[in-house]
Symmetry: C2
Subunit: 287 residues, 2 copies
DNA sequence: ACGCGGTGATACCCGACGGGTATGACAGGG
DNA sequence: CCCTGTCATACCCGTCGGGTATCACCGCGT
């Protein structure tokens, strides 16, 4: 009577994201009429109007917004349950598959910290196998939530630690990454204001949870692209100190006096009770 | 093919908790054979053995433990989605039902703080209606997770703030609560060691997430019971300073020098995006 | 003004599957 | 030894989820 099925949540999230029954049905691999009916049944069962159907397309009501948010979280949780259970399968029988940990790391970030962590953990007696899952800019949180990863390296202020347990590992400052020939590249230090309004060098824009803030600068998708755009003199970026390890000859890095420090954390889902995970965290904390 | 239905999770959690198909089926309001079949299907779909069936009862495998843990979380998340959506229903239409917040508080704890908070918030312009949900010793976390509450007052070190956003409100010391006539009641201050091994007064035991640690003292379920047992000279307890507001004449409170301080937090689920909630938190932070 | 395209809703049918009842296989205890 | 209690199997049935065909409605073009 009052318990939502994951099927219903999947359907509703698809419709709420597409705002179009036909496209949502296609995405779900089904026909449109049963999808319409399913959403109507869902609305009846909840006793709530979720969608506002104007003859031209669909809009979310307030309750719909809530269900989109909460439904995504619930779907993540069930997906995580399935994945983690599958991975734990057989691990109880002695001689079964070794413990395995999936560690999510932003590609090209914290490279030497990561190497040190992996080396130190591998040297521990009884350590599990660690699979490194290199991901995009802000995906670690999603990967942890839906069970594709067990543990992640995260970087405040870009990642949010909300909803996870975490331990801070290192703190570093930030530098401005400029084309080597640029006048500002000769300075000893810069402030954020200096790099924000350079007329010929618009500040690069990083995605924040899949969307880009508006602005004049180019939209950055990965580190290679950023490096090239800077080398070409098209943009300037604010990056952590450790980025110096991948500087090109055409790059210059100038310390920033007032940029917020970047803290690298190791983070994991609350209530994780795996000995392998505990060992990795202990190793990380000792670095 | 790989997406768990909430029905399957409900069934498995019931079996895993009862460790008995018959009782689980009864609890679920269904017959035992379809339940057996559903669990078998679940195991086949996950490709994992979840239960070890000895002819006498059932035991969880390692994978089963994982699914019990993760499945509970997933069920909480879907229940929360349903509840919060229902509560948000109609709130979007102007003139619809007022915003409502459910605040979970341990019964008899932080009484004056709660009163101040409610008064201050009610005085705010545009404040929502606040329903106070008085709960047992450690239920706030569950209430927040499954959507029965929107926000809670929690007390470290008893409650865990893991998985929630929170803000610290007040810190207080702890006192030993003794029968008025007891020799220790005359002391100016006590240490934890003093109250731990009083031969004639075993330390009362509080439940921690539903279970009691072993020990000689009585198992406490609520504040009234504790007060009476102390007055009867049967036990001694360690409680926050603010408990002084409900002391009886037969009680004596003696400060403890080395007890961990009790911090009262206001906590809420991560990603909450309600203006009413934000207002309540802001009010609390200003107290 | 009229027809056309595109939206979501309705009508109807069918097969899958979730659930019930009856029964079986098997172990432990009086 | 049978009786009790456990979970698994066999079989039946009704519900309901999904597909196809179609409708009702609106905006827009000519």
């Amino acid at each position: 009577m009052d318990t939502l099925e994951t099927r219903e949540l999947r359907y509703f999230v698809a419709v709420a994201e597409e705002l179009h029954f036909g496209r949502a049905a296609e995405r779900l691999g089904m026909a449109q009429p049963p999808l319409s009916r399913a959403i109507q049944q869902l609305e009846r069962r909840l006793g709530v109007c979720l969608l506002e159907r104007n003859r031209r397309g669909v809009r979310l009501t307030g309750a719909g917004e809530v269900l989109l948010q909460e439904g995504r979280a619930a779907l993540d949780a069930t997906a995580a349950a399935a994945r983690r259970t599958r991975r734990a399968g057989g691990a109880d029988s002695p001689g079964g598959p070794r413990d395995q940990l999936v560690l999510a790391v932003k590609a090209a970030a914290s490279h030497d910290l990561l190497r040190k962590l992996l080396d130190a953990y591998a040297a521990e007696p009884g350590s599990a196998e660690v699979e490194v899952l290199l991901c995009g800019m802000c995906e670690q949180e999603e990967l942890l939530r839906d069970g594709r990863a067990d543990v992640a390296l995260m970087h405040t202020p870009w990642n949010s630690l909300a909803g996870f347990d975490s331990e801070a590992l290192t703190t570093e400052g930030q530098v401005a990454l400029l084309p080597a020939g640029h006048p500002l590249a000769a300075r000893e230090a810069l402030s954020l204001a200096d790099v924000r309004d350079v007329p010929d060098l618009p500040l690069a824009r990083w995605p924040s949870h899949g969307t880009y803030a508006p602005g004049p600068g180019p939209e950055i998708h990965n580190q290679t692209q950023l490096a090239q755009l800077i080398a070409l003199g098209r943009t300037v970026a604010v990056v952590p100190d450790s980025a110096r390890s991948w500087l090109w000859a055409e790059h210059a890095a100038v310390p920033l006096t007032d940029a917020p420090p970047v803290v690298t954390h190791i983070a994991w889902p609350v209530h994780s009770r795996s000995v392998a995970l505990a060992g990795l965290i202990r190793t990380a904390a000792r670095l």
